[in-house]
């Protein structure tokens, strides 16, 4: 598909470094965890998890996002998607644990909304470096219980999402859905493996994307050659044990770099 010309209708400053951009394009068939390619014309095209059917929630990290942060309501970008495989959709009466770190909230927000709307029970562990970096706290609260954790203790538990997870009985949950920095997700996976719950966990991964449609292979992971753009970005924890996950990834020239 060609990029859909999409006008920015609203910009919400979630934190000093994270903004939500809403568009006049709504990808109504997007499932929680699927992503769009956001074309910032003349700069680059980057993958972003859909935080709404018509929106993305972005941290300023590189050229494309920096340019996006200079844009105003009324400016436009190109959107292609939704692409990839998202989270397993929650069913009524299921018990779902969401673990979100930093801007990793983006694909998990719609999952929480969806889970609550079908009558699933939602519990969220929401982590950030500091209180002002917490995103979607109210959104997750509207879906269920929220355990806040900050690295510096400025809000909620002082520590990491794993600090809270360690105190939980994960056997209560039908599924555990995770997104955040890879090191955080890796520590969660290890903890869940010890508790025998890794095969009930789903992780939304980040890798360098070129084609984004499952052809070029730039985002393939060792050792199974899984394409993060098409077989993922959401992958079951059992597929990530004994993989490159948490250890290394590939750069834009496909060289291995440490996570």
């Amino acid at each position: 598909m060609r990029p859909i010309n999409s006008k920015i209708t609203q910009i919400v400053e979630e934190t000093p470094s994270i903004r939500t951009f809403r568009f006049d394009t709504s990808l109504d068939d997007a499932q929680p965890g699927q992503f769009v390619m956001v074309w910032v014309r003349g700069v680059d095209e980057v993958p972003m998890g859909c935080s709404f059917k018509n929106g993305i929630t972005v941290q300023k990290v590189g050229d494309a996002t920096s340019r996006l942060f200079e844009m105003k309501e009324g400016d436009s970008v190109g959107l292609r998607g939704p692409f990839g495989k998202g989270f397993t959709l929650p069913a009524k009466d299921e018990n779902i644990l969401i673990i979100a770190g930093g801007v990793g909230v983006a694909p998990l927000g719609p999952l929480a909304d969806e889970a609550a709307s079908v009558g699933a029970k939602v519990t969220t562990i929401l982590g950030a470096r500091t209180e002002s970096e917490l995103v979607f706290e109210q959104r997750f609260s509207e879906a269920g219980d929220v355990h806040v954790t900050t690295d510096d203790g400025s809000a909620g538990t002082c520590g990491f999402v794993t600090t809270v997870l360690a105190e939980m009985d994960v056997s209560e949950y039908d599924r555990i859905c995770v997104c955040g920095p890879e090191i955080m997700m890796f520590n969660v996976l290890k903890m869940l493996e010890e508790k025998g719950a890794h095969d009930r966990a789903e992780f939304s991964l980040h890798r360098y994307f070129k084609c984004a449609i499952g052809v070029c292979g730039a985002c393939c992971m060792d050792h199974e050659g899984l394409r993060v753009c098409k077989d993922g970005p959401v992958l079951n924890g059992s597929l990530l044990l004994d993989s490159e996950f948490g250890n290394y990834k590939r750069s834009s020239s496909s060289q291995r770099v440490k996570v």
Binding site: M1, R2, P3, N5, M37, W39, R41, G42, V43, D44, E45, V46, S76, G78, R80, F209, K210, C211, A212, I213, G214, V215, C216, G217, A218, C220, M221, D222, H223, E224, G225, R227, R250, S251, S252, S253, S254, Q255, R256
Partner: protein, 300 residues
């Protein structure tokens, strides 16, 4: 079983270069999906990050891409070939590129220890300045580079040709004269798409190469012409996404077919096409692929 340039393949489908070929693990996955052989992503003398995105878009008629030869360089890629060789029970062909004969030789020699079963020279990428088709449109350079690589390695050398030339036969002849064991035809056709709402060319590189079903008739004609003009085998590639496409390509003169963009529909495409070809041969009383290779030349 087919035998081309002395290498045995369990079936005549080959993963085309540039598709799922960046890591050893992904090459193994393609072999496990039924490919008779796999070709790596094109590897060059230095690490290269490629063009900015968008680098591939699906259009109504095919795919347009301009990756820009991203690769970790031969020094970082020999390990991936080793992984592919150990994990896949099919031949592994190393696609390589350079800006001149010296660079091609450096890359080929650098990868020789990993023992690829053949080298495929990329003199046909349509959108990398100083590489690919810049070289592949000049028959003197194609012959010189082919000869230099053939002298420096002890495995077969294939040369992948660009259709973006007036006469592909003369370039094929140059490869043959340089000592190529086979030619591979075709690489993508130069193309472009523009976003009418902003006026921006969609690809980060502005233009790129067209692949997919749109290019199949062009590929069939190129393979047909090369089969007539050359004494070495022709490996057909361009728009093959079904066993019928593959049989058509083989009847034009291909000894085997490479499959690229069709992986978009599913990695099972190799096994499906290989099974379909086998069934067609059996149903029509042919003993093997060689019975129908170039059949379109004989019936007229």
């Amino acid at each position: 079983m087919v035998k081309i340039t002395g290498i045995e393949f369990r079936n005549p489908t080959i993963l085309a270069s540039g598709i799922m070929g960046t890591t050893g693990a992904s090459l193994v996955r393609m072999a496990n999906s039924g490919a008779g052989a796999v070709v790596t992503k094109s590897i060059g003398p230095e690490p290269k990050i490629g063009h900015p995105n968008p680098s591939m878009v699906k259009l109504d008629c095919g795919f347009l891409n301009a990756m820009g030869l991203p690769n970790p360089s031969y020094a970082d890629f020999d390990n991936e070939i080793k992984i592919a060789k150990e994990g896949a029970d099919v031949p592994v062909i190393a696609s390589i590129f350079g800006g001149n004969a010296e660079e091609f030789v450096r890359v080929a020699e650098g990868l020789a220890d990993a023992k690829p079963d053949a080298f495929e020279l990329n003199v046909s990428c349509p959108h990398a300045e100083g590489y690919g088709a810049t070289i592949g449109t000049d028959s003197c350079m194609v012959e010189a580079i082919t000869a230099a690589v053939c002298d420096s390695v002890d495995v077969p050398v294939w040369v992948k040709l660009t259709p973006n030339v007036t006469d592909i036969k003369s370039i094929g002849k140059a490869a043959e004269n340089g000592g190529a064991a086979a030619v591979v035809a075709i690489n993508t056709l130069r193309g472009m798409a523009i976003d009418i709402y902003s006026g921006y060319p969609i690809l980060g590189n502005r233009f790129g190469g067209l692949s997919g079903s749109a290019v199949k008739p062009v590929a069939i004609k190129c393979v047909y012409d090369l089969y007539e003009a050359l004494d070495i085998p022709v490996i057909g590639v361009g728009g093959v996404s079904s066993w019928e496409d593959a049989v058509e390509m083989i009847m034009a003169g291909a000894s085997a077919v490479q499959i690229g963009s069709a992986v978009h529909e599913g990695v099972e495409v190799f096994g499906d096409i290989a099974t379909g070809i086998d069934q067609f041969l059996q149903n029509n009383g042919y003993a093997g692929v060689e019975d129908i290779t170039g059949l379109a030349h004989e019936v007229i």
